[in-house]
């Protein structure tokens, strides 16, 4: 089992190194963006992962409310911890990209705004957690807030683009709105997306294993 685990980790490591190298050498540049295209391979996966974390957090929140086992609350918290980290990364990389492509770091374009909202939600989630002392109360309130936020987020993501005009390359560097990337770009992009997702799964699983170990330890102590 340990051996398989090690192979996995090593393979992931190699995969990501190859992706990084490919992003900087092999993948072609998009018209108009030049070298700055390269951010795409890292920015989009972080944005995707923060959304994935949000979804996973919401799922574990539902499970906690049904089963009332604190373990699920810890899982939701773990997913949210990863989520906020990737959210910060996505906001920063997105902002850098915005500066080099459109000239300013922040424009309140719909996607920028959405990622910022997500950042606010994550921050609020942790602020709420730290304001409640009793464990089961904390878990319940955090779970409810997660789910409440979850139902309001779709509104922003889908409605605002109709209200504000967008500066955002949509979706991915071409005017017709179709996935029209060069095959090399597409390969690098999808590989990066895949690699990062596996990385995320590994991080989350590690955190969850740690939680399980802590809980078992507590049980033994009793």
């Amino acid at each position: 089992m340990m051996m398989l685990h090690r192979i996995w980790q090593f393979a992931l490591f190699i995969w990501i190194i190859i992706v990084i190298i490919a992003a900087f050498t092999w993948a072609p540049l998009a018209k108009g963006l030049g070298e700055y295209t390269r951010i795409l391979y890292f920015h989009v996966p972080t944005a995707w992962l923060t959304v994935l974390s949000f979804l996973i957090g919401a799922i574990y929140s539902v499970i906690y409310l049904r089963k009332r086992d604190l373990k699920y609350d810890y899982y939701a918290e773990a997913a949210s911890q990863l989520g906020i980290v990737f959210c910060i990364l996505a906001t920063v990389t997105g902002s850098v990209w915005a500066k080099v492509s459109w000239g300013s770091f922040w424009n309140w374009d719909p996607r920028e705004t959405s990622i910022f909202i997500l950042l606010l939600i994550y921050s609020a989630y942790f602020a709420l957690r730290s304001a409640v002392e009793q464990e089961d109360r904390k878990a319940t309130l955090a779970a409810v807030y997660s789910l409440f936020a979850f139902v309001t987020v779709p509104f922003f993501v889908f409605i605002v683009p109709r209200i504000y005009s967008s500066l955002h390359p949509d979706p991915l560097i071409n005017p017709q709105g179709k996935i029209n990337m060069d095959s090399k770009m597409l390969t690098t992009f999808l590989s990066s997306l895949f690699g990062f997702t596996v990385f995320f799964v590994w991080l989350l699983k590690s955190k969850m294993d740690l939680i399980k170990i802590r809980l078992n330890l507590k049980k033994l102590e009793k």
């Binding site: 609020a124 409810v144 936020a149 922003f156 409605i159």
Partner: protein, 227 residues
Amino acid sequence: MEISRLQSLRNAWFVFQKDVQQEFKTRYSVNAILLFAIVTLFAVSFSIGTFGASKEVKSALLWIILFFSSMSGLSHIFVREEEKHTSDTLKLICAPVSIFIGKLIFNFILLLLLEIITVPLFFAVMNFSVASTSIFLSVILLGSIGLSAGATMIAAIISKASAKGALFAVLSFPILLPVLVAGISGTKVAVIETSFLKAADELQMLFAYAVVVITAGLLLFDFVWNE
């Protein structure tokens, strides 16, 4: 001893009545919310001057005033129950759904009261006008339902936390942002357009938001209210 839907609604009304009775005697929430709105309005007006801002900016300012006034007054309905130790008393006599609906109605009426006073004042002091009153009023009305519904749910959540402080605004802002955005956008439309259909997007969104938030509130409130 099952209570019918009708009885649940009647109980919600009784809870609302009780809250109104309390509010009438103390006037705490009403004072807080009105005072905040008026102070902010005059601060804004003083800083900008009546001709110093475009209609877009004024539309945004109106909603900012409404939002922050809500933050200063809409949590009281739950926080007061906790602080005065009447929360458990209420819990033992009434089902959660009636409590949620009753307090939601209270917050909605409170917000409407705020708007009845603040909005005309805003129009006067900020030299603001709209082309279509019907669009404007619809936006404000639908927006208020969503705003009060979201705020009521968050108020319930923070009332159970030990450290309240700025938590209400921090938790509410991301949740209520869609109302803010659609509200401001809808108000901008009301300033320019006269045809009702031009605000269809915003009005549909506000309506959908209100429905979603009230439904989510009804489903989740039980968890917050009961331990």
